[in-house]
């Protein structure tokens, strides 16, 4: 098995790089879009709020795999042609944005209304209040669930192998179809995913403790 590992390592390394890259890339999209969706959801303007709610429900109500296929195979028919990587980043990013928006919305709601009232009573605008008072406190609340979504996103990147992105899972399938050594290759892939996600989970828990320690909540 170690000899196999050596022989397959160039492909596996390429796969790992793409998997990790897809994870960070789509997480960045998910964080930015998730925050925008969360703010849209709590908007007082129904013309913003209603479409956002509908969009989030649409995404959360359908399989990620279907969304990836839709972006990759259907959007070109509507005139939007994306490379596999672009489609994968968009699909994962949008899907996780929908879930994160709920996390962020709950985090914002968890900051007591007294904080908003105190800030606005000082003459701060609603957006200043959001930026300087609400979000910094909400951020601490949402770190643990966001971290968990990050780990789960890492594992879900395996799905983009279906739109021909040569990430870790895809490399495994290539090697398997070349060598028919299913047990060895898929065991190795198994170990690689776990070897990354378990320490990453530990890192999330550490972050959580770190922010709890320095989080000055009354």
């Amino acid at each position: 098995m170690f000899a196999d590992l050596k022989a397959w390592s160039p492909e596996l390394l390429t796969g790992i790089r793409l998997t990790v890259g897809m994870t960070f890339g789509s997480m960045a999209i998910a964080l930015a879009l998730g925050l925008a969706l969360a703010l849209g959801r709590i908007s007082l303007n129904a013309w913003i709020r209603t479409p956002v709610i509908a969009f989030v429900e649409l995404i959360r109500g359908s399989p990620l795999l279907l969304q990836l296929f839709y972006i990759y195979y259907v959007l070109p028919a509507l005139g939007l042609r994306l490379t596999p990587i672009q489609a994968g980043l968009l699909g994962l990013g949008v899907n996780y944005a929908a879930y994160l928006s709920e996390v962020f919305r709950a985090g914002i709601a968890a900051v007591g209304s007294g904080q908003r009232e105190a800030s606005e009573s000082l003459g701060m605008s609603p957006s200043q209040t959001m930026r300087h008072i609400i979000l910094p406190q909400a951020w601490r609340i949402v770190i643990p669930p966001t971290g968990n979504y990050f780990i789960s996103l890492f594992k879900d990147t395996a799905l983009v192998s279906t739109i021909s992105i040569a990430e870790l899972m895809f490399q495994g399938q290539l090697i398997a179809s070349d060598t028919f050594r299913y047990t060895e290759i898929y065991s190795i892939i198994f170990v690689i995913y776990v070897a990354i996600s378990v320490p990453a989970s530990a890192g999330v828990r550490w972050l959580e403790r770190y922010f709890n320690r320095s989080g000055q909540r009354r």
Binding site: L44, G112, G114, Q115, E117, A118, S119, E120, S121, L122, G123, M124, S125, P126, Q128, H132, I133, P136, Q137, R140, G215, Q216, R217, R218
Partner: protein
């Protein structure tokens, strides 16, 4: 003397429940007005209308030449007008509502920097002077969670004063405090009153009310039932309900 606050025909309901009924009240510049009344009578709602934390259903409030009107149905007050008023009106809450993620100094400098556009140096100088005055200049780098309730409330007062407000509103500023900390907060408020700050205070501290109030307002089920000097209200209330209320709160 010119009035700095003018409330006319205020009505306010939460859903079907009418909380304020046709409230009229004028407050002169430099005046200290204490609002008393039973729990649920609408004291908080009234004081929160003054800086637009609650929206009026009808009537008008004029604060220092700026007017708050009921917002059009289902719409919130334009936030620009609200901000203009809030800049001039400080508010101190029962629960302090300090910003827990900011130090004492940052709590006090934030709004002057962001709203008044002061530079850091000016905001810090002012903050130090105010924190000195409330006796907390040694705690400038602490976080609110490291302070006692009385200290937190004094920071909250300094934070409001940093905006150089024309009016200060206090909604039961000592009700959440342990008894031994009430005095230190009242002392700060006493100082403000002496200096001529216009203050509207909701409190259950009747001794304090009698001492600092130019006028006492008794509110009963959302109506102003009686207004008078502290001596008039406490020593010779005219209304039966005022007498009843006072006999109940003064007993203990």
């Amino acid at each position: 003397m010119a009035n700095i606050i003018e409330m006319t025909g205020l009505n306010k309901a939460f859903d079907a429940f009418q909380v304020l009924h046709d409230v009229n009240l004028s407050i002169a510049k430099g005046e200290v007005v204490v609002i008393i009344g039973a729990s649920g009578s609408g004291k908080s709602t009234l004081i929160r209308c003054i800086n637009g934390l609650e929206q009026l259903d009808s009537g008008a409030i004029e604060v220092d030449g700026l007017t708050l009107l009921p917002a059009a149905k289902g719409r919130r007050q334009a936030s620009g007008a609200l901000q203009d008023i809030r800049r001039e009106v400080g508010m101190v809450f029962q629960q302090f509502n300090l910003f827990p993620h900011k130090t004492v100094l940052e709590n006090v400098t934030l709004a002057p920097i962001k709203v008044r556009k002061w530079d850091q140096a000016k905001a810090e100088t002012t903050a130090r002077r105010l924190l000195e005055r409330v006796g907390l200049v040694d705690h400038i780098q602490k976080y609110p969670s490291q302070l006692s309730g009385g200290q937190q409330q004094r920071v909250a007062i300094a934070r409001s004063l940093a905006m150089e407000p024309r009016v200060m509103l206090f909604d039961e500023p000592t009700s959440a405090l342990d008894p031994e900390m009430v005095g230190e907060v009242l002392e700060v408020m006493r100082g403000l009153a002496r200096e001529g700050m216009t203050m509207v205070i909701v409190t259950h501290e009747m001794g304090f009310a009698r001492e600092v109030a130019d006028r006492v307002v008794y509110i009963d089920q959302g109506r102003i039932l009686e207004v008078g000097t502290a001596a008039e209200i406490f020593d010779a209330p005219r209304e039966e309900r005022t007498k009843l209320f006072l006999s109940r709160v003064l007993k203990h």
